[in-house]
Each structure stands twice: as C-alpha cells, then as structure tokens.
C-alpha cells in the first residue's frame, strides 16, 4: 500500500496538472455561465411572452439532459456544424451551455423574490434599462444567490470528471492514466478524491465568506 502511494507521489506533477485543468475548466466555465446566465435571466424575466417562453424551454431542456450526454452532443455535434474544437474546448462549451441554464434559473428565482421597493426607488431616481439591471438589480441578486451559485460551482467541478470520458486531461483522467500505467488504483483515485475534496472545500469557504458579506447588506 505504501508503495502505491509512493508511485502516486512520484507522479504528483501530473496530478497537479490534472487539478489545474479541472480548476481552470471550472473557473472559466463558472465565469462564462454566470455572464451568459445573467443575460438569459433577463430573457426569462422579459415581458414578452414568446421571449420568456422560449428562454424557459431552453432552460428546461438543459435541466433534463445529463451533462455527459450534452458533452457528447457538443463533442460530436459541433464538427458536423463545421466547428472543430479540441476536447478541452468542447468540454468547456458543454460546461458553459449546461450551467448557463442553471445559473439563469437561480438568478431568476432570486430576482423574482427581490423587494420591489429598491427597484421602484431606482426608477424614480432615473435608473432604467441596462443601468437599472446592472447597478441595482444584479448586485442584490448576486449577493442573495451566492450560496446557490457556490453549490453550482461545486457541481461544475464534479461534472468536469465526466470530461475524462472524452479524454480531457483533467484530474480523473490523469488519475486513470496513472492507475492503468502502474496498476495503483486505490492510491491514484483516492488522491484524486482528496484533491476534489480540497477544492470543493475551498469553494465552500468562499461561499461562507460571501454569505457574511451578504448578511450585512440585507
């Protein structure tokens, strides 16, 4: 058993690489899906029925499909549209599509529950349109939605493991490689699990900090 862990330790550089890929995919995916999700939330809240209904259909569709299936659809589907991405980018595109839907749903839920008071005051003070959204609505929504967005971030981190199946060199893929090369399954995958645990705990700590910020701004 000690020998197993020694082998994994000898390959820690590879694991670190995998970890960086996982974190990079998750962080980029998070940023992009928060940006796009905010836009989609605007469409969900649109007064025009056709707009909000089609946005809702988009969200519902993605919430029913497993992430891996979506990753396959992107991986095999984009080339048939003439778009050729490498595996890493396909993986990122899948993450962003998938989580844009979730983020939009989270943000919309909070937005709907936002007190009308502050928004009405902003309107009376001459805020409207995008400025009202970006300066008054969105900051309040983000503060309240932070815990849910943190949970979603953890979900993204875990979903990246699916991308090992399309050979994206993230943490699980690297652990898989080490295990098949040296046959050290227990040590290799346990190391991966502990690393996932570490970054997820980091995210949770971040969420905790934001929650404290949010509490005094309510």
């Amino acid at each position: 058993m000690i020998r197993e862990f020694a082998i994994v330790w000898a390959n820690s550089g590879q694991l670190l690489n995998g970890l960086l890929n996982t974190a990079g995919l998750a962080v980029l995916g998070m940023i992009l899906s928060v940006l796009l999700g905010s836009l989609l939330a605007v469409l969900l809240m649109a007064r025009s029925r056709p707009v909000s209904l089609s946005a809702q259909a988009f969200v519902d569709l993605f919430r029913c499909v497993p992430f891996l299936l979506l990753a396959y659809l992107v991986y095999f589907g984009l080339p048939s549209l003439g778009l050729n991405f490498d595996n890493w980018t396909s993986g990122l595109v899948a993450i962003v599509f998938y989580n844009t839907a979730y983020m939009a749903e989270i943000l919309r839920g909070v937005w709907r529950g936002l007190p009308r008071d502050g928004i009405e005051a902003a309107t009376a003070f001459g805020f409207q349109g995008w400025r009202l959204f970006l300066r008054i609505i969105l900051p309040q929504v983000f503060l309240i939605a932070a815990p849910m967005m943190g949970n979603q971030m953890i979900q993204i981190i875990k979903d990246t493991a699916f991308l090992s199946i399309i050979a994206v060199p993230e943490l699980t893929h690297v652990a898989s490689g080490i295990q098949s090369q040296y046959y050290v399954p227990f040590a290799a995958f346990l190391a991966a699990v502990l690393l996932y645990w570490m970054i997820c705990s980091l995210v949770e700590a971040g969420v905790f900090a934001v929650e404290r910020l949010a509490r005094e701004r309510r």
């Binding site: 009376a124 001459g126 503060l143």
Partner: protein
C-alpha cells in the same frame, strides 16, 4: 395701487398638475386633479387613506402614467415630447425623473450599498456628474441630516429614523427641482418621527420646493405654505394652513380635521 391689467412676468410654477385622471380598472383613483407647487413652496397633500395621494405623487414622476391630464415641471410637459403628442421613451423619462427627488414611506434604500454609496449612486450613474464633486456634496448633505458618522454603514444597520434621513439626503443629492415625500414618517416608531420632521422643516425654511403627503398635522400647520385636501380622488380644498386648520371652507375638510387632528 398695483396695476392688475398686466399679468406679472413670473416664472411658471415648479409643478403644475392639470386635470389629472387615473383609474385602475374600474376604480377611479384620481378624478380631474389640478394643483400647483410654486418655486420654494412647501405644499402638504392631506387626505384619508386610499384617497389617491400616493398615486398622485407616482403620476408626477410617471411611475404610474396618468390616463388624462398634464403634468408640467417648470413649464415643461412631463411624459411627452414634441408638443405633447409623442410619449417619452425610457431614456427620456429617466432623464426627466432625475430632476425630481422622491422620499418613500418605507425608505426604499438600496441595501447592497453603503449610506454614502446610496447618495452618490444616481448622481454619478444617472446624471453623469463628476465623482469627486458628488462625494463632496454628499458628505455635506450627510452632515446636515446628522449622519456624517454613518456614511460607511449599510442601511440594515440603521434605525428607521436614520434610514429616512438617508432617504432625504439621497433625494437631495440629485439637486432636484422638486422633492416628493410620500408619508415619510408613517413607518417610523413615534419617538423617531421628530428627527425626520426636523430635517424636513429645515428644508422647507431654506426654500426647497416640496410636495409632501403626510399625516403629521403639526408639520403641515407650521411648515406648509399651502394645504391641499384630497378625497376620493378629488381636490376638496386648497388653502393656507392657518385658514385650513382654523376655519375650513368645506364640510368634508371639517370631518377630516375632526378625525385626524382633534381625535
């Protein structure tokens, strides 16, 4: 004897409302309201609950677009452009609204911003004024409402009276031509009413132009230049406070005073 044949060349009133009508469904909330607020004047809008006072204020800055009638701000038509035929678009409405300051019954501060940020948010991002200048002015305003030491606090940490004083300072930071107050003390604990009324009295004395919906009869009696009584969406009486409170002209005004002053 002054010459009465020539109309005096005075500036138009800051706010002029002509024949304002507003219904929600079949409920006629405002029924042909006409009134004015002259420059530097404080006008108190009184009336029983549900008489349409809030709706009137909200029509003035087009939070509720009126059904009929005209709102003129310093002679300029609100809500329409090009001689009153084309409705203003969102941008134009926003610009027009930024000339009016509003103080709300429930303060409606922005909870994610500090006190100082609440004051400077609209002047910088709506009026596009210089940041340093706005901050300097905001600090002076906070000092005037007695909250200089709270500038970095979040609204959640303030008492009701403090929140409302921030609300007033926030409205003043817009350098508004007209200040609208919608029952600014009704949501306050009785012992906190005084600090807010005191600030409002100073504003009135200093010549701010104010339209104030209130049930604080003391304020109306002492600070108002004119009192307007609204009932069932109609103006029942317009009078100087001394006359209104001592010898009201209408039966309806007498009943109102019975309930709200002598009760």
């Amino acid at each position: 004897m002054p010459d009465t044949s020539m109309p005096p060349a005075v500036a138009p009133p800051v706010l002029e409302i002509r024949g304002l009508t507003k219904s929600f469904g079949t409920n006629i909330v405002l029924d042909g309201v006409s009134m004015q607020v002259g420059k530097g004047q404080t006008v108190c809008l009184l009336g029983p609950s549900g008489s349409g006072k809030s709706t009137l204020l909200r029509c003035v800055n087009w939070l509720e677009p009126p059904d009929q009638g005209r709102i003129l701000l310093s002679g300029k038509l609100m809500g329409f452009r090009d001689g009153g035929v084309v409705p203003m678009n969102g941008m134009e409405l926003a610009r027009a609204r930024s000339r009016i300051g509003m103080v709300f019954q429930h303060f409606n501060l922005w909870p994610h911003l500090t006190v100082l940020q609440n004051l400077i948010e609209a002047p910088i991002h709506v009026q596009g004024r210089q940041r340093d200048e706005v901050i300097g002015e905001a600090e002076v305003l906070l000092d005037r409402v007695g909250l200089a030491d709270k500038k970095n606090a979040f609204p959640a940490h303030l008492s009701g009276g403090q929140k409302q004083r921030v609300g007033i300072a926030r409205a003043l930071a817009m350098r508004p031509e007209l200040l609208l107050f919608d029952e600014p003390t009704s949501a306050l604990d009785p012992e906190l009413v005084g600090e807010v009324v005191a600030v409002m009295k100073i504003l009135a004395e200093e010549g701010s132009t104010m339209l104030v919906v209130t049930h604080e009869m003391g304020f109306a009696r002492e600070a108002a230049d004119e009192v307007v009584l609204l009932d069932l969406g109609r103006v029942v009486e317009i009078a100087r406070p001394t006359e209104f409170f001592t010898k009201p002209k209408t039966e309806r005004a007498r009943q109102f005073l019975q309930r709200y002053v002598h009760a």
